[in-house]
Amino acid sequence: MKYQFEVIPSKCIGCRTCELACAFAHAQNQKPGKSRIYPLAYAPDKYVPVTCLQCDDAACVKSCMFNALRRNEETGAVELDKERCVKCGACVAACPFGCALIDDVHDEIVKCDLCGGSPACAAFCPTKALVYKRV
């Protein structure tokens, strides 16, 4: 893998800019999409931006009976092929981290795709708690 997506929870201030950046980066038909990153508070004023870990042995990929989820070898992200997806929800139920979910507005399954190689969340994070870098 040529790039690494780093999450540094200690730097996260819970401003939710990443969530907005994600929703707008995945907008369709002039409507923002559902965010693929979730800054959650694990203690008062302490936040973790929870996002897809792009697991090596991913449960979502294994659970998909239609091969709609495949790894993009260039970015290392597990990407959803919308043309092959039937929205059965197997990946949503199988992901142990809860990072695949159903977007009711656009009627599709969403998961982090690292924006195809330039994640909007990392670009907008004001405290650099999200870093996308070459390794």
Binding site: Y42, V50, K62, N67, D81, G89, A93, F97, C99
Partner: protein
């Protein structure tokens, strides 16, 4: 790699790819009802008809369903000639007679300027276009719980003997893929009913939200070796658990650094 000409523009395509896949990738609007990338093409709806030709055919041409036609080098494709439009209009007109109440087909017909079918409509039609997308997706899943029964105009998609399908796992793939949305299902807080069979839904152990049917989860556990505990909580609770777990690690690391 092969080169084909689509509406005068030369494009590259992979060998063995179906023409419709290439056309869609090029952003050309081709109506199709029964096409889905997850299932094998069968050309049942006939809507994706295009005109093909080759330089050596000296002006001869033919009309093919693009979903079933593998691309070949030197193919000349025209997608919106008056003949193709006329063929498509006839097919849509027939589909509209078959499914007069279908929103999807009505909308498609309006796009082609058809507001009323010129044929006699099917009495008591159920909007099913017999495209077999549902049976094909069920086959891909490895279940084949439903199939076409009876013959001729009596043909319908149904479970065996019209009873509860023993192989159905309640995944809703058939209902989701149906182009005209004719497969009904109902969900309550803890059950799901489809094809007259009622399934128990696994509910989140912490918030009670429905996750997936028990049968589908068991199928995934057996087929794809997904651990049972992955299905026990809903996505929202799983995210919160992830945040807490990560928080613990952060707190421990910070304490160790002090």
């Amino acid at each position: 790699m092969v080169h084909i000409t689509i509406n005068g523009k030369v494009v590259k395509a992979a060998e063995g790819e179906m023409l419709l896949t290439v056309l869609k990738r090029e952003g050309i609007d081709i109506p199709a009802l029964c096409h889905h990338e997850a299932i094998e093409p069968t050309g049942n709806c006939r809507l994706c008809m295009v005109e093909i030709s080759r330089a050596e055919w000296e002006g001869w041409k033919k009309h093919v369903t693009s979903c079933l036609y593998p691309v070949e080098d030197g193919l000349i494709v025209n997608t919106h000639t008056p003949e193709v439009i006329e063929i498509r209009k006839t097919i849509i007109d027939l589909q509209l007679a078959n499914c007069p109440d279908s929103d999807v087909i009505q909308k498609m017909a309006e796009e082609y300027g058809i507001y009323k079918t010129s044929y006699e409509t099917v009495p008591e039609g159920d909007n099913c276009i017999m495209c077999y997308a549902c049976t094909r997706i069920c086959e891909v899943l490895g279940k084949s719980a439903i199939s076409a029964v009876m013959r001729g105009h009596k043909k319908v998609i149904a479970p065996p003997f019209g009873e509860e399908p023993p192989d159905c796992i309640g995944c809703l793939a058939c209902a989701q893929i149906c182009p005209t949305n004719v497969i009904p299902w109902t969900d309550t807080d803890s059950t799901r009913t489809i094809w007259k069979k009622t399934f128990d839904l696994i509910t989140c152990t912490s918030c009670g939200k429905a996750v997936i049917t028990k049968d589908f989860a068991e199928y995934l556990m057996a087929q794809r070796q997904i651990p049972k505990e992955y299905f026990e909580t809903c996505d929202e609770c799983k995210r919160m658990a992830t945040a807490r777990k990560m928080g613990e690690i952060v707190t421990k690391a910070q304490e160790a650094a002090l």
